[in-house]
């Protein structure tokens, strides 16, 4: 099942770990903050949550 990931813009400092792990679903903008661009498989979402050094990523709504 695919889910939306949520990146807290107040916590993210733009390290880019998420973009490395899921280039198709996250983009680090020129504002220095990562932005989700597509839903991801739930397992990948969990990996992203764990991998984020600042703990800025959480799992949001399921994607239709």
């Amino acid at each position: 099942m695919k889910v939306h990931i949520v990146i807290d813009p107040a916590t993210c400092v733009g390290i880019g770990k998420c973009e490395e792990l899921a280039e198709h679903a996250v983009e680090l903008g020129d504002d220095g903050v990562s932005h989700p661009t597509a839903p991801v498989e739930e397992e990948l979402a969990r990996t992203l949550c764990e991998a984020c050094p600042t703990g800025a990523i959480s799992i949001g709504e399921p994607a239709e």
Partner: protein, 421 residues
């Protein structure tokens, strides 16, 4: 069996690190007193944090464990000095967040991929020149030259200034090493301008030269912007505010230090380890898919920064110890990276192990190393270049380690080419 007297363990004296990492002390602390009160002859004392899990938890909790309050080194710092020498690494969120986002977009994995070709060209050029001579100093001829050249390209400083900047960066962290410390005239010049050593980053007068250099470069980019990191810094805006000159030069100082010393020391320790254990390099050569993991293991083994400090902002209990607001905590990355709970048989160097939990880039949290991907790329690039040439080396004379309680590295590593000339 005699046990180590824990109260006698010394971790701050730079002499303790000259002959090697004091693994026995850290091992004893991890086992018997992982949150250890370490007295200081010239300070209030500190908590030595030696377990991986504790270091990670503290790193991820900047609200209770501040980098801004009293900075990030052993030394006690006064308000005046903090005002002069604060850089991003000595801030907490949300101030840190604002500064970090200015520079983050230039250091993402995607961006770092773009720098890879340049790094390989630098590595090839340096190896060509050194290997031709048959024997050379791996530290001086390779490690001191490579990261600074990769960095100036991103930073936007002229390549011709690379060696000058590397020399200044060396003098920043080597204040405790008589062989590398800044010359007396540099101290005198700083004093003549009203700066005591403690006013300056790393208590080193080399920082003042670096400030001057950075100021000139920032002025030049303000007049004539380019596509580089310095231009980004001078143009950065936050709710209508720009960075002050003082913030700018400290930012540059931090980047020059961090973009040079740590990678340089990792490349040196990595090569030393591969010379000591040539089977590990052979293993990598036979199976290049091991390279990514090997980079993590080299970094774990190298741990180029022994420790950073945090200051507790409130009373906290940790493993039964009562830490009080205002207490100093030293986070020993060098111990966490050899924590047997995370890395079985930690004093074995093994490129096939899973070293991905290493804390070379910090234990997580907002201060996670800006240059992490850049550093990994350079380690991978240099050792790939070595393997591509079939190069093997032997130690060719006395090696010497840096006298420092902060930077873990070699001053000299004389090598002789034994294969691949």
């Amino acid at each position: 069996m005699a046990t180590l007297d824990l109260s006698a363990i010394e971790l701050k004296d730079p002499d303790v690190y000259v002959d090697g990492v004091p693994h026995a002390s850290f091992r004893a602390l991890r086992e018997h007193d992982p949150v250890h009160w370490h007295p200081e002859s010239d300070g209030p004392g500190f908590w030595a944090i030696t377990k991986h899990a504790d270091l990670v938890a503290i790193s991820k909790d900047p609200r209770r464990f501040s980098s801004a309050a009293r900075f990030i080194y052993y030394e006690e710092i006064d308000e005046e000095s903090m005002a002069i020498r604060r850089s991003m690494i000595e801030t907490d969120p949300p101030e840190h967040t604002r500064l970090r986002r200015i520079v983050s977009p230039l250091f993402t994995p995607k961006m770092v991929d773009d720098y890879r070709g340049h790094a390989r060209a630098v590595a090839d050029r340096l190896l060509d020149r050194a290997v031709e001579r048959g024997s050379f100093d791996w530290v001086r001829d390779i490690c001191e030259m490579m990261p600074i050249r990769v960095f100036v390209d991103v930073f936007g400083a002229p390549e011709a200034d690379a060696d000058y900047l590397a020399k200044l960066a060396n003098m920043l962290v080597a204040v405790d090493d008589p062989d590398l410390a800044p010359p007396p005239e540099m101290y005198a010049a700083a004093r003549a301008r009203g700066f005591e050593p403690h006013h300056l980053p790393f208590s080193s007068p080399a920082a003042l030269e670096l400030f001057d250099y950075a100021q000139a470069l920032c002025d030049a980019r303000r007049a004539e912007p380019r596509d580089d990191l310095i231009t980004r810094l001078v143009q950065a805006e936050w709710e209508g505010d720009r960075l002050t000159d003082n913030e700018l030069v400290n930012f540059c100082q931090l980047l020059v230090f961090a973009g040079n010393e740590t990678t340089r020391n990792s490349l040196a320790t990595g090569m030393h380890r591969f010379i000591e254990q040539p089977d590990q390099l052979d293993l990598l050569d036979r199976d290049r898919t091991l390279m990514r993991g090997a980079v993590e293991e080299v970094l774990r083994w190298a741990t180029p920064i022994y420790a950073f400090r945090r200051t507790a902002t409130e009373d906290v209990e940790l493993r039964g110890q009562a830490i009080r607001a205002g207490d100093k905590l030293m986070l020993y990355y060098i111990s966490a990276n050899f924590d047997e709970e995370v890395f079985p048989d930690p004093e074995r160097f093994d490129v096939t192990r899973d070293a991905s939990q290493q804390v070379v880039f910090g234990g997580g949290g907002p201060h996670y190393c800006l240059g992490a991907f850049l550093a990994r790329m350079q380690v991978e690039t240099l050792f790939t270049a070595v393997l591509d040439r079939g190069l093997r080396f032997a130690v060719d004379g006395p090696t010497a380690r840096l006298r420092s309680n902060f930077g873990n590295g070699f001053k000299t590593l004389p090598v002789r080419v034994v294969a691949g000339r």
